[in-house]
C-alpha cells in the first residue's frame, strides 16, 4: 500500500468568513484539527513585544462560561490532546481527539477563542511567568541563539521573539490583551485544517455553528511581512562549554517556483546522515555532535540556515567547513546525491502521512502559504522535477555573498565581531 496520490481534499470558505480544508482519511481512528489565526508576533504593537503569545496563552484561562481549570477539565472529559502557540505570523491551536468528540472539541475551542475574559489575576501571573521564562531562556543555548539571531535575520518586526522582552512585558496590561484579542481574533482571520475520518459537510456544519458571528466575516490577510535581513558577524558572550554557531542567508519563499530546488539543496546538505554537513563536519573530522541545515519561510521571504555547536577551539574550523560545503555544492553535486535528497523528502511525506496529525499539519501549511490544499501528486512532482542544472541555476541566481552569522559562547569567531557590519561578510559564501 502506498499513500494515495488522489485522496479527497476539500477546501472552502463559509459565509461567516472561516476558510477551511478537510482531508478525508476514512480508515483513521483519530481526528486532528488546527485553527490558525492571523495574530502572530508581527501583529503586535511595537511597544508591546510578547503580547501575541500572552493573549494566546491566556485565552484558555477563563471564559464567560468556565474558569481555566473547568475548561481544561472539559477538554479532558473528551480526552483531547491539544497544543497552542504564537508564531511570527499566526497563532495556532491544534487538537487531536477520537472522531466522535470532534464537534465537542471544536465547541470548546470556539469558547476560548470567542469568549475569553482575561481575568486580571491570571494575566498578572502570566506576566510574571513570562518574566521567569525570559530568564530561563538564558539557560537554553540553542533557544537563546535563535532569539539573538532572529532580529538580524528577519528584522525588528518579523524577528520578534514570542516571549518579547522584559521592558515590553512590564508595560503590558489586561486592557492590552483584550484589545489585541478584539482586533485580531475573528472568523475572517481564521484558517481551519482538519484531517481524519471526517467529511466536508460535517466539518462545515460544526464550524458554522461554532464561529458564526465571531467578529468581521470579511477575509483578511496580514499582507507580506516586513522582512529585513542584516548581514554581519555577531557574537554574544556567555560562559558555556561549547560555542553555538548559526549562519543564515536569504533564499526563496514557500510559494516561489524555485522553492522545491531549495528543499532539495537542504536535503543534500542535511537530509540524512549521508548529507554533506553531517559527513564532512561530523563523520570525517569529528568536530561536532550536532550540525544541521534548515529553512525558515515566513510568507514572501525565505532564509536558509546552517547551525552547529562545538568546543571553542574547534569553532573556526567548523565554521569554515560549513561554508566550504555550501560553496562546493555548485561544483560537484552528483546525480546520486540529488536522488537521495529527493527520495528523502518524498519518503518522509509518505511515512509520516500514516500519522493523522502530520496530515493535518501539512494541510494547514498549504492553506496558509498557497491558499489551497496541495495534492500529494503535485507535491511529489515538484520535487521529482528538480535537476542538477536547476540546483546550479539556483546557486547562481540567489546571492550568498552576504551572511548573517551569530555565535554564542565563550569566544568570538573573528575579530570585529559583536558589531553588525553592513560590509560584505569576510568569509561569505562565494557566488
Amino acid at each position: 500500500m502506498t499513500r494515495s496520490l488522489s485522496e479527497k481534499i476539500d477546501h472552502n470558505t463559509l459565509a461567516c468568513g472561516v476558510e477551511y480544508g478537510v482531508v478525508e482519511l476514512p480508515k483513521r481512528h483519530v481526528a486532528a484539527f488546527q485553527i490558525r489565526i492571523l495574530a502572530g508576533t508581527c501583529n503586535e504593537p511595537e511597544h508591546l513585544p510578547g503580547l501575541a503569545r500572552l493573549v494566546e496563552d491566556t485565552l484558555d484561562k477563563g471564559t464567560e462560561r468556565h474558569t481555566g481549570r473547568e475548561l481544561s477539565d472539559a477538554f479532558d472529559v473528551i480526552g483531547a490532546g491539544r497544543n497552542s502557540g504564537a508564531g511570527r505570523e499566526t497563532a495556532a491551536f491544534t487538537c487531536t481527539v477520537l472522531p466522535e468528540h470532534f464537534e465537542r472539541a471544536l465547541e470548546l475551542h470556539a469558547e476560548l477563542l470567542c469568549q475569553p475574559t482575561f481575568p486580571d489575576d491570571v494575566v498578572k501571573v502570566n506576566l510574571d511567568l513570562t518574566r521567569q521564562e525570559l530568564k530561563a531562556l538564558e539557560d537554553e543555548p540553542q533557544a537563546l541563539l535563535d532569539k539573538l539571531m532572529a532580529p538580524k535575520a528577519l528584522g525588528p518586526i518579523l524577528g520578534r521573539h514570542p516571549l518579547g522582552d522584559r521592558s515590553g512585558i512590564d508595560r503590558i496590561t489586561t486592557g492590552d490583551l483584550r484589545q489585541f484579542w478584539k482586533s485580531h481574533y475573528s472568523s475572517g482571520r481564521m484558517i481551519v485544517s482538519v484531517a481524519g475520518p471526517m467529511n466536508e459537510s460535517r466539518v462545515a456544519a460544526a464550524l458554522n455553528r461554532c464561529f458564526e458571528g465571531f467578529g468581521p466575516s470579511k477575509r483578511e490577510t496580514n499582507g507580506l511581512p516586513p522582512a529585513v535581513f542584516t548581514p554581519g558577524v555577531n557574537h554574544h558572550s556567555k560562559d558555556l562549554a561549547q560555542e553555538h554557531i548559526a549562519v543564515c542567508w536569504p533564499g526563496v519563499d514557500a510559494t516561489h517556483d524555485d522553492f522545491p530546488i531549495q528543499q532539495v539543496i537542504l536535503g543534500v546538505l542535511a537530509g540524512g546522515m549521508s548529507g554533506r554537513l553531517f559527513t564532512e563536519v561530523r563523520e570525517k573530522q569529528g568536530l561536532v555532535y550536532w550540525v544541521s541545515a534548515w529553512q525558515e519561510t515566513p510568507r514572501g521571504f525565505g532564509l536558509l540556515y546552517m547551525g552547529a555547536s562545538t568546543t571553542p577551539e574547534r569553532c573556526k574550523k567548523t565554521y569554515d567547513t560549513l561554508l566550504r560545503e555550501v560553496n562546493r555544492l555548485s561544483d560537484d553535486l552528483t546525480e546520486s546525491e540529488l536522488e537521495r535528497a529527493k527520495t528523502g523528502i518524498i519518503a518522509g511525506w509518505e511515512t509520516r502521512g500514516d500519522a493523522t496529525r502530520a496530515r493535518c499539519s501539512e494541510l494547514a501549511s498549504d492553506l496558509y502559504f498557497f491558499g489551497r490544499p496541495m495534492p500529494m501528486s503535485e507535491r511529489v512532482s515538484r520535487i521529482q522535477r528538480v535537476t542538477r542544472d536547476d540546483v546550479s541555476r539556483y546557486l547562481r541566481t540567489y546571492r550568498r555573498d552576504q551572511l548573517c552569522v551569530m555565535t554564542l559562547g565563550p569566544r568570538a569567531l573573528t575579530e570585529g565581531s559583536n558589531s553588525t557590519s553592513d560590509a560584505r561578510t569576510k568569509e561569505a559564501i562565494r557566488q
Binding site: 484561562k61 511567568l129 573530522q285 569529528g286 511515512t351 500514516d354
Partner: protein, 418 residues
C-alpha cells in the same frame, strides 16, 4: 511461528534457533513499516572504567561492517528515504528505521548488517571526538546536568549512578579492544529483539530475519542485573553559570514490569501532568514556570520524581509547594473525575500511538521488555481502565511520597545549606 494472543491477533512472535526473538505486528491500513533492533545493554551494564561504552558503541555501530563502510551505511539508509536513528538508555540500546513498505527487506538487512559492526579503529578515534562534543553539549543544558546529578546521588554506588554519555575521562581512556569485548558479550541474539510493525507479511519478515540474523552466534546469557537502593537525603550542586534552580524530590517506586505501573503513572499525571494539580497550584500560582512529576522506571526498579525549575529566589516556595502537593495526594485521594480525565487522555494517546508503525515499534519494545509479550491497544487500554482512586490510595500507602525522600537542588544557589 506462534501467534502471541489469538487467531485474530495482529502479532506474530517467533524465536530463531540462536535465540533472537522476532516480534511482528501487521498494520494493514498503513503505507509504511518500521523495523528496529533492541539490545538489552546500556549504561547500567558497564563497569566504572567503561562508563559511556554502551552509548559510544551505539555511535560506532554506524561506522562500518565487513560489507559496508560508514559512508555506505548512511547512503543506504538515505537512498530508501528512511527515518532512522538510534538511542541508548540505562538498560537498552535501540536502532530503528521507518520506511515505505517496499523497502522493508533492505531496511532489515541494513540494520542487521550494522549489528555485526567491525568497529573500525580509525573511525573509533574520530568518533571519540564526537562523543566528547556531545558530553560538552550536555554540560550546557541545565536539565541534563540536573538529571545526571540526581541519578548520581539517588543511585549512589550503583551503575545507574553514572551518566549514559560517560565522563570525559572514561571516554578519553576507552580503547577499541575494550569496546570490542563489550560488544561481543552484549550484542548476541539471545540478548536482542527484532521488532517490525507496519504493512507487512509476517512470514516474509521471519524469512528475512532468518536469512540475515540466523547465523549470529549465541553467547552465555549476560549476568543478571542487581536492583539499586534508592538514597535519601539532600544533595546540592551549585553552578553559577545557570539562571534557574532545579529542585527535585525522589521517592522509591515500582519497576516498569510491575502490575501497578498504570496506577503510579496515573498518580504522576494527576500530580504533575497536563492539567494537573501541580500545573494549577504551582505554575499557575506563579511560583515556577515549570513543575511536574515523572516516573523513571527500569525492568527491576523505579522512582517517582517531583520536580520544578524556578527563579533561585523562589526555591523555598517551590520546594514547599512540591511537598504540599505530595502530602495532598496522600491526604486527599484523587476524585473519580480526576482519575477519569487521565484515562480519557490516555485513550486518545493510545489511539494516536496505534496509527503509525514507528509509534507501534517503540510500544512493542516496551511491551516485550516489561510484559514479556506484545499487547493490543485494547489490552493496554484495559489496564488503564482498571486504575481507580482506591488503587492509587493503596499504592501511596505502600510507596509513600509524603516523607522526606531525596532532595536534589541544582543551580546558582547553594541551597539548602547542608
Amino acid at each position: 511461528m506462534s501467534p502471541a494472543t489469538s487467531a485474530t491477533s495482529p502479532f506474530t512472535v517467533h524465536t530463531l534457533k540462536n535465540g533472537l526473538s522476532v516480534v511482528i505486528e501487521e498494520m494493514p491500513d498503513v503505507c509504511s513499516v518500521a523495523a528496529g533492533f533492541l539490545c538489552r545493554t546500556g549504561a547500567r551494564d558497564e563497569t566504572p572504567p567503561l562508563a559511556g561504552v554502551s552509548h559510544f558503541l551505539e555511535h560506532m555501530m554506524f561506522k562500518g561492517t565487513s560489507r559496508r563502510t560508514w559512508a555506505q551505511i548512511t547512503i543506504d539508509f538515505d537512498s530508501m528515504g528512511s527515518a532512522y536513528n538510534a538511542f541508548t538508555s540505562e538498560d537498552r540500546t535501540i536502532y530503528y528505521g521507518w520506511v515505505r513498505t517496499k523497502d522493508l527487506e533492505p531496511q532489515i538487512e541494513l540494520l542487521a548488517d550494522m549489528m555485526r559492526s567491525a568497529i573500525p579503529l580509525d573511525e573509533f578515534t574520530t568518533e571519540k571526538n564526537v562523543i566528547l562534543e556531545e558530553i560538552a553539549m550536555s554540560k550546557d543544558n541545565l536539565d541534563h546536568v540536573a538529571f545526571d546529578f540526581l541519578q548520581e546521588k539517588v543511585f549512589a554506588g550503583h551503575p545507574l549512578a553514572w551518566p549514559i554519555l560517560g565522563y570525559d575521562s572514561t571516554v578519553q581512556s576507552l580503547t577499541r579492544d575494550q569496546m570490542w569485548d563489550y560488544f561481543q558479550q552484549r550484542y548476541a541474539p539471545n540478548n536482542m529483539l527484532l521488532v517490525v510493525a507496519g504493512a507487512l507479511k509476517p512470514e516474509q519478515v521471519i524469512e528475512v530475519a532468518e536469512r540475515y540474523c540466523g547465523s549470529w552466534p549465541r553467547v552465555t546469557d549476560p549476568p543478571k542485573r542487581v536492583p539499586p537502593k534508592v538514597a535519601r537525603g539532600v544533595d546540592v550542586l551549585k553552578l553559577d553559570r545557570f539562571n534557574q534552580q532545579v529542585i527535585a524530590l525522589t521517592f522509591p517506586s515500582v519497576s516498569a514490569c510491575d502490575s501497578r505501573i498504570e496506577v503510579v503513572s496515573a498518580a504522576a499525571t494527576i500530580l504533575g501532568g497536563e492539567n494537573s494539580r501541580m500545573y494549577w497550584d504551582i505554575v499557575q500560582k506563579g511560583i515556577a514556570p515549570r513543575a511536574g512529576a515523572h516516573h523513571l522506571d527500569f525492568t527491576d526498579s523505579g522512582v517517582l520524581i517531583l520536580y520544578g525549575s524556578c527563579d533561585p529566589t523562589n526555591a523555598e516556595l517551590l520546594l514547599d509547594a512540591l511537598r504540599k502537593e505530595a502530602r495532598r495526594l496522600t491526604d486527599e485521594p484523587p476524585r473519580d473525575a480526576e482519575v477519569d480525565r487521565v484515562k480519557n487522555r490516555r485513550r486518545t494517546s493510545v489511539a494516536v500511538e496505534a496509527e503509525a508503525p514507528y509509534y507501534r515499534l517503540t510500544q512493542l519494545m516496551d511491551d516485550m521488555e516489561f510484559h514479556g509479550r506484545p499487547r493490543t491497544v485494547d489490552e493496554a487500554l484495559a489496564e488503564v481502565d482498571a486504575v481507580t482512586s482506591d488503587s492509587i490510595v493503596k499504592f501511596l500507602r505502600e510507596f509513600p511520597i509524603d516523607g522526606e525522600g531525596h532532595l536534589t537542588s541544582v543551580g546558582p544557589r547553594d541551597w539548602p545549606k547542608l
